[in-house]
Symmetry: C2
Subunit: 335 residues, 2 copies
C-alpha cells in the first residue's frame, strides 16, 4: 500500500514572521514526512478565504522540491478556471523539472462561490473553461512543434511551451470526482482519480466499483495506485479523546460546508429540503479514521479489502500523529 | 558598492535530464554566487522563444529561496500584460514569504512581438494593461480589507489577497527604463529603476542625470541603491581574448536584436533609416566591461564616479568569471 498526505500551509495577514520560513511548520512537516515514509504531499489552492489559505501551490511545491528528494509533490487541486492554461502549464513543467519529475498535477473546476465571485467568472462556465484548459495544458506539455489554439476562452498563436517536463509524455493528471457518473468520466479521460474524505466507507466502496466498472467499459487497465482515497485521521488513546476528536471533526466539516456552500464534489441540498446537510455523500461520523492505532489499522484493512491501496491522510494538526502512523500503522501494511 | 547578477536558466526541449536539478548549472551558480558575495540575482521571464528560455521565474525563485539564505531574489522582469494581476501578486507574495522577505519584483510591459502574438494580446494594450496590473498588485499586497476592482482588463469582487508579504508595505518594485522621459516616469511612481546593458557609458551617465533630475522634480530622495545598472562582463587575459570577446558580444546582441525586433527599451530604427542598428542607445562596443581585472576595475570606477553604486553583471558563461570578480574586482570597491 501507498500512504501520502493531503493538506495546505496557512499564513494569515497580521501574523507575518520575518524568518526565512513563512509556512514554516508546514514545510518542516513535509520534510519529516518524507523521512517517515510518506510517499506524497498533495496541497490545496484557495483564494480570498481571508483565513490565510495557500493560494500559490506551485510556488510552495517549487520550494519543497529543493527541500526534499523523493516525496511526490502534488496539487489537490489546481483550479483551472482561474488560470491562463499556458502559464499554468509552464509553471507545472517548471516544478516537474526542478523536482526531477516528482509532480502530480491535480486539477479541478472549482466549487467555492466566493472564488467564482472574486475572479468575476460565472460558475456556469466552470466546466467549459476546465475542459478547454486541460486540452491546452496537455498540448503545451507534449507538443515539440509550434501550435495555435483558438478556443472559447483562450487564444494562442504559433506557440511552443517551455520548459519541457521531466515525466513523459507529461506529469500524471489527477482530478477529484464524487458521483458515479463523474468518476466514469475521469476513467474515460485517462486521468487518475481522487476520492474525497467526506464520504462514508459504504459510499466509498460504491465509488471504487464505479471506477472499476468504468475502467472495464473504456478498456482501461485497473491500477489501484491511480485511485487515491483521502481520509481524515486522528489518533486517540481513550474513549474521551475519541469522542472529542469526533466532535471536532464534525464541527470543522460543518463549518466549511456552511462557509463555502459546498465541498469538493458536494453541493448543499436544495432549499426545499429542510436538512441542509442531507447530502447522502456527506458522512461526518463514519468517513474518518479515528481511534487507537489498532482501530485505525482495522479500518485501513477494511479499505484494503475493498481494493484501495493508495491512501492520502489529511494532514493532522500534530506531527506526532505522523510519527505514530509511520511507526505503528504503516508496518502493518508493508508488502 | 553593491554587486548583483542578472540572467536566466535555460532548459531546451529534447535536452531533458532526469536528475533532480533541471536548470542545474544555473542553480549551482546562484548558490556559489551567494557565497562569493554577490548580493542579488535578477532573472528573466520569456515565453515561446523555442530556445528554452526561463518562463516561470517565480517558481525558480521559490526553489532558490530554499537553496540560499541571504541573496536577494529578483525578477527582471515579470511581464505584467501576460498575467492575471491577483494571481501574480499571490505568487510574488509567496516567494517573499518563502524567502524571508528577499523578493525584488521587477516588472515590465513586454517588448517581444513573438510574445504579444503568442498570448494574442495587442501590443497597443501593453501600457494600459501594465498600469492596471500594478494598481491591482499593490492593492492586493497592501489591503487588509476586502476590495473590488473594476478595470478595463480585469474585474475582481470582494477579494482579500493572501499570503501576506514579509516586506512592508510590499516588496520593492523595479522597472526598466531607457529614455529620459520614461526614467522620469519611474522616479515619479516611486519604483526603483533598472538601466540596460546595451547603452554606452556616455548615454548611461545621461540616464543617471535624468533620474537625479526627476528625483528633484518629484521631491524624491536620491538613493543610489535604487538605480541598478546592468553590464555585460568578460574577463580576458590577452589582446586576442579581448578581441574575441568583443566579437562574440557583438554577434549575440545583434542576433537578439534581429530575432525579436527589439531589446528592452530599444526598438529597431524606422524602415526609412538604412542602418537597422542606428539606435543611438545601442552601443555594442562601449557598453560592456571587457578586459583584464585591472581594466574592469577602472571601468567600474568610472561608473562609480558618475554616481552608480549598484551594478548587475550579466551572468557570464563561466562561473570562473564570478570567482575572479569576487577575488580580484570586488575588493577594490569595499567601502
Amino acid at each position: 500500500m501507498k500512504f501520502g498526505l493531503f493538506g495546505g500551509a496557512v499564513a494569515r495577514r497580521g501574523e507575518e514572521t520575518a524568518d526565512s520560513q513563512g509556512y514554516g511548520d508546514f514545510i518542516d512537516t513535509v520534510i519529516e514526512a518524507e523521512q517517515l515514509g510518506f510517499e506524497s504531499i498533495f496541497i490545496v489552492e484557495h483564494h480570498f478565504s481571508g483565513g490565510g489559505q495557500l493560494s500559490s501551490s506551485l510556488n510552495l511545491l517549487s520550494y519543497l522540491a529543493a527541500k526534499t528528494s523523493t516525496i511526490r509533490l502534488g496539487t489537490a487541486v489546481t483550479v483551472l478556471p482561474w488560470h491562463n492554461p499556458v502559464l499554468i502549464a509552464e509553471q507545472a513543467a517548471t516544478v516537474d523539472l526542478l523536482s526531477g519529475g516528482r509532480l502530480d498535477f491535480g486539477v479541478g473546476k472549482g466549487y467555492r462561490d466566493i472564488e467564482f465571485h472574486g475572479f468575476d467568472i460565472p460558475k456556469e462556465e466552470a466546466l467549459a473553461r476546465y475542459e478547454e484548459s486541460i486540452e491546452v495544458i496537455v498540448k503545451s506539455w507534449t507538443s515539440d512543434e509550434r501550435f495555435d489554439h483558438t478556443g472559447k476562452y483562450w487564444s494562442f498563436n504559433d506557440i511552443i511551451v517551455e520548459p519541457p517536463t521531466i515525466q513523459k509524455p507529461h506529469p500524471p493528471l489527477w482530478t477529484a470526482a464524487g458521483t458515479d457518473q463523474s468518476i466514469a468520466r475521469v476513467a474515460e479521460t485517462g486521468m487518475s482519480v481522487m476520492l474525497d474524505h467526506f464520504a462514508s466507507f459504504e459510499r466509498t466502496e460504491e465509488r471504487l466499483k464505479a471506477w472499476r466498472d468504468a475502467c472495464k467499459r473504456f478498456d482501461r487497465k485497473f491500477d489501484p495506485m491511480e485511485v487515491a482515497l483521502a481520509r481524515g485521521v486522528t489518533i486517540t488513546l481513550s474513549e474521551e479523546e475519541l469522542e472529542e476528536a469526533t466532535m471536532i471533526r464534525e464541527q470543522r466539516v460543518s463549518k466549511m460546508f456552511d462557509k463555502f456552500g459546498a465541498l469538493p464534489g458536494l453541493e448543499k441540498s436544495l432549499p426545499d429540503q429542510p436538512d441542509s446537510y442531507a447530502n447522502p455523500d456527506l458522512a461526518i461520523d463514519d468517513a474518518a479514521l479515528l481511534g487507537t492505532p489498532e482501530m485505525i489499522i482495522k479500518r485501513i484493512q477494511t479499505l484494503k479489502d475493498m481494493g484501495f491501496e493508495h491512501i492520502l491522510f489529511l494532514l493532522p494538526d500534530s506531527i506526532e500523529t505522523l510519527r505514530i502512523i509511520s511507526k505503528e500503522i504503516m508496518p502493518a501494511f508493508k508488502d
